[in-house]
Symmetry: D2
Subunit: 150 residues, 4 copies
């Protein structure tokens, strides 16, 4: 849990408009919506780097989340104009490890790491990450760091 | 809009637990969730009368909402134990008109009328309401009445 | 139900990115999400015409949906870049009647009419539509017409 | 990621009806809904052990999720009658560590660990876990184990 967030200025970001119904009776975005935001952001990121989920489907490939770790350091609120930062920190044989941060006025209020596995679009069996996607993802910086001290 | 709700005691009802995240910053259930409740209720009702959506699928049939009218007279709140009342008010050749009411402590806070069309499960073209479903639905009372006066 | 949609070219529109999780097993946007889209669109429209919900709150006012009528003529799909058209068709003493249309490639796949009542932001009792909002809304064209014949 | 799930027979469980709209175009429950299920389950569990969130509110206390780890080993599907298992594995000074598992036909398809912090219901500053809640939670078994070998 002792995780600090650091989002370099050049990290890719998706603008996000918090929707009214996503805020709960505590007047903050309900924590369950963040995975939905990250899903939107990864889809947008994949398209931005030139290997959209549609291209994956055309190649007979799909991806699925198998692991997620999330820390909340604060909250998004409605009607924030927020951002979701995305960074590909590791691409394995058949998996992709992607870091996310939710930013409010440039401050990270939530960070997360998802692991996706690449699967055959019909059978949902593991396949290799397509070479074109591997190259497009490159090697980004981690947005999460073990916190010093403590 | 001048619609009054009347839910006879013998109307079929699905118990509903309002989920925390469905309440918004006004501390009431966000209006967008009611169509989801009615969808759940109609699925449960179809199963209760012996013609589940699974049976429809096995018969090559499916249903789709094409029209909805909703009036809010009040609000559900979290953590209400609520009920959704369901009544089939008209079965046409290829359509079903279903009335709904959302109840809180036995009081209707919302009423609605949905029209569903029966479609082929593959082509989504209109088909006749299966005879078994027609018989199961019977002819319920309307839960909505034009309000007197006004 | 015999409603035709007509969206004049100069109608105000909010761009909408359909989210992956909003599409269901029929591969179309689940009908329950449309009210959420219309809510987002009305909030954005109010801001665009210079009377945002934040300004309403500052004036001690709020609005609530009390009536909704929706027709689906088709479906939005993921990953559509869609639009929600908004038109204020009537402003009463304490209510606003707003038409909506969901467009896919410029074609309306869904139309709706919501009635909102203006309420005191604390007590949720009816109040008059603030003059500034009334003027900002103006008088738009209906996006829905009774269908000829039939 | 090398986490195995083990849910002892006597673990507390909340029955869960998967809702139609929660299944996506892959015909499985979208991964973003699981945090919502766990939230519902923890609320129900707190009530079952005699310290409901309402009682917390009455005591001026509330809880917030600050950390979540989730592994998906499989998927829930609609119309599954599923269960969410809940076990309190650690109660700290001002935090509670709770394990969850989502079960389909008795098989765990997803496991998770949430850390909640206890906060003042007005100020959202950290407070101690109320003694009555601490006693009610007891000390449950972990539902997650590092996987042997690999």
């Amino acid at each position: 849990m002792a995780i600090a967030v650091h989002v370099p200025d050049d990290t890719w970001r998706m603008p996000l408009t918090v929707r009214y119904y996503e805020a709960d009776q505590q007047n903050v975005v309900f924590h369950g919506w963040y995975l939905n935001y990250f899903d939107e952001a990864f889809t947008a990121y994949a398209e931005a780097i030139g290997y959209s989920i549609q291209r994956a489907h055309a190649d007979g490939a799909d991806w699925m989340v198998v692991h997620s770790e999330i820390e909340w350091h604060g909250s998004l609120r409605w009607p924030d104009a927020a951002e979701i930062a995305v960074s590909a920190v590791h691409v394995g044989n058949s998996s992709m490890t992607i870091d996310f941060a939710a930013l409010r006025d440039g401050e990270a209020v939530c960070s997360a790491r998802n692991v996706y596995v690449m699967v055959d679009a019909e059978e949902y069996t593991r396949i290799e990450v397509p070479q074109a996607l591997r190259e497009a993802l490159g090697r980004g910086q981690s947005l999460r760091r073990p916190r010093a001290g403590r």
